[in-house]
């Protein structure tokens, strides 16, 4: 048993050596560079980074599955806005219990994801188009519901999910750990996981083996919607309000985490373990640029270049392998 774990750890390090290296270099730089060394390694900052990363990694968990399936989900950013606003509204406007509000927010995300899944599995319309459409619908509904201004929640308990702590660890980080474990188990240990790889790698082969490709697509898109709903509620809690502008462009950060993590846009291959590193790189980079007081306009430029570099290194490694 222990040898099996050792083998898996070894394989994991070997597969992700490039990005793990990049992450380490980034962290070492930030811990010794005079301007940031005092802050970067503090408790507060590390938890802060992890808290910020959690929303992106929720999305990236669903996105990894969707991309391995050979598709894409552009709607997740808008789902954050919609589910966050509705959940906040449930507390602020209708005085529903917080637990119910959270559940409703997550369910709304799940429903949008399921809608994506139904259209994608029943038709041959490309996921790019379907989710582009739901992205607009969800965003629009968030604006309609809020009238364009944030829904503030004054109840103190509301903040627990996004800004609270359990045993000294930020709540979103605890939730993230659970979500990552569940996603990794689905991907690596279950039949559904195998079938996601199979449908993405060669959908004809999957069909001829008696796998219901429609069911796999439906489940994966529903899961992606659920993750986005969760991210939306957590974010609304952290910001004490549901904001229709929340999650703008979040789908792109999630896609970036997935591809930096080594998942192929062509589908069929990729690992959730890579996505975690990808998400960490993007999160630490954001944090580092803030600590270095880099102008936020330049931050986009730097982020773009780093994404391209990470994928380029991967490309070089694959080319060498032949």
């Amino acid at each position: 048993m222990t040898t099996r774990i050792q083998k898996n750890v070894k394989q994991y390090l070997k597969d992700n050596i490039g990005i793990i290296g990049a992450l380490l270099i980034l962290c070492i730089f930030l811990s010794i560079f005079p301007k940031t060394s005092g802050v970067f390694l503090t408790h507060k900052n590390i938890f802060n980074v992890l808290r910020q990363i959690s929303s992106n990694l929720f999305l990236a968990c669903g996105m990894t599955m969707v991309i391995i399936l050979g598709g894409i989900d552009l709607s997740v950013g808008s789902i954050i806005a919609l589910s966050g606003c509705v959940a906040a509204g449930c507390v602020a406007r209708y005085n529903l219990p917080i637990f119910a509000a959270i559940l409703i927010g997550v369910l709304i995300g799940t429903a949008v994801g399921m809608a994506n899944g139904v259209v994608i599995s029943k038709t041959t319309i490309p996921p790019f188009i379907v989710t582009l459409a739901t992205m607009n619908v969800a965003k629009g509904l968030a604006y309609v519901y809020t009238g364009g201004s944030p829904v503030r929640v004054v109840t103190k308990k509301w903040q627990f999910l996004g800004a609270g702590y359990i045993g000294g660890v930020p709540t979103p980080v605890i939730i993230l750990v659970f979500v990552l474990i569940i996603t990794a188990v689905i991907m690596n240990k279950t039949k559904l996981g195998r079938h996601i790889y199979a449908v993405g790698g060669n959908s004809q082969a999957a069909r001829f083996s008696g796998i219901s490709t429609a069911r796999v697509k439906l489940l994966v898109h529903t899961y992606s919607g659920l993750m986005a709903g969760l991210a939306g509620v957590v974010l609304a809690s952290r910001m004490y309000s549901g904001q229709p502008t929340a999650g703008d462009g979040a789908e792109m950060d999630a896609i970036a985490a997935v591809v930096v993590g080594g998942t192929s846009m062509a589908g069929g291959s990729g690992k959730i373990g890579g996505t975690i590193i990808g998400g960490l790189i993007i999160g630490v980079l954001n944090n580092g640029l803030n600590l270095l007081n880099v102008n936020s306009f330049w931050q986009y430029v730097v982020k773009g270049i780093v994404i391209l570099l990470a994928v380029f290194v991967d490309y070089l490694r694959n080319k060498k392998k032949g």
């Binding site: 240990k189 279950t190 039949k191 559904l192 996981g193 195998r194 079938h195 790889y197 199979a198 790698g201 060669n202 004809q204 082969a205 999957a206 069909r207 001829f208 083996s209 008696g210 796998i211 069929g268 291959s269």
Partner: protein
Amino acid sequence: MSEKILLQMKNIHKSFPGVNALQGVDFELFPGEVHALLGENGAGKSTLIKVLGGIYIAEEGEIFIEGQNVVIDGVNTSHANGISIIHQELVLVPHMTVAENIFLGREPGKGGFIDHETMEREAETLLNDYHMSISPGAFVKDLTIAQQQMVEIVKAISYRSKILVMDEPTSSISDKEVEFLFQTMRMLTQKGVGIIYISHKMDELEQICDRVTVLRDGTYVGTKVVKDTSRDQLISMMVGRELTKYYTRDYKEPGDIVLKCENITDGKMVKGVSFELRQGEIIGFAGLVGAGRSETMKCIFGLTPCLSGEIYVNGKPAKIKSPLDAMNYKIALVPEDRKQEGLYPVQSVRFNSTIEVLKSFIKGILVNQKKEEEITGKYIEMMDTKTPSQEQLIGNLSGGNQQKVMIGRWLATSPDILILDEPTRGVDVGAKSEIYATMNELVKEGMSIIMISSELPEILNMSDRVYVMCDGRTTGCFHHSENITQEQIMKLAAK
């Protein structure tokens, strides 16, 4: 007798919009029998197989397995009835392991979780049973085509199938691998498995098949015992008329040397190739898969750089750095892999016919459509391409007609030297014979042709001279007057 029949398909009908793909087809299979299914492309072989595999559902007709009337309404019911199909285009998932592919869709384990250890162990047992030296943990993408095929076979067997269908299993593997395949097939038939075998290669039918059923245009033509039936009989059953001459070739004295290659290399697969081509002759290139024949032609056509050696066109050294240079030297190349390297499948026959010569009839910035139609029409007629219209999507034509459009596309560039890489792969018998006749016409008119082919009979019957390649080098050359045998060529090809 009746209870001995393993599979019986009676009066099967299936139609698609505008096409009656199957019109009352019958088929039967005994246990331990290899039964060939023969017919031109479009005859209905694949449709019949897909009905058996539950991918299509027949509108009419009955299927009996061991005397029981069964309804096959999906892939899973087909598997449940002991039917497995090995499709022509291999359907494995490249990024998954051999074991995962074998058990895809029915992984061992409980409650949605996979038991990886059991899966690998069972896969290994299966592979060993059939003497296959493939690791169950290897990724499919790292295997050769032949190994992938073996995995498909093991996968099929693992369903404990009584009926195994093989759709052109030998189209992309070497002769030695074919021999191994046949051994495996014999092991299976001894255990009572019935095999339905689809192939265009007559040699193979004679080697491995007991009976043959011929289909034509979606109808049942007849069933014969292979060893009592001549090749000509089978061909005339398939095409529905006597093919008076399968190969057409009028030899004449060739002219001057138009293309000469001296010791060319590409640093990879091509390690020293020398040959010459005279005006008005066909030279054939024989060799095993991977001998570097296609790669040599890619060098000559400027698709890959030529690292050393010289190419002479009409006696003068030629600098060919790109396909455009090659076209300026009036060289044309019809590639081996139509689907990957040639066709624009979602475009029309017209688009596909004229894409290489567009610039010759562009007026200002607009394409002269009248001229485009004219040229397309000319080559449809010349190649005798069967298409309902010029607007027809090329992906909807049969393999033979696609190939005719591809050859026509390159003829439109009016080349002096035409390179044909596997010109009849995936092409049915009737269209093959027509392509041979066209090649004969072309060389009569003064064109020179280089033909790469893995089908030796075609090389021997069409070429003025035959070059043999092995491991990146030309290893010999025969003139057609020497009465070359297949054995002589194979000796030079497999050094």
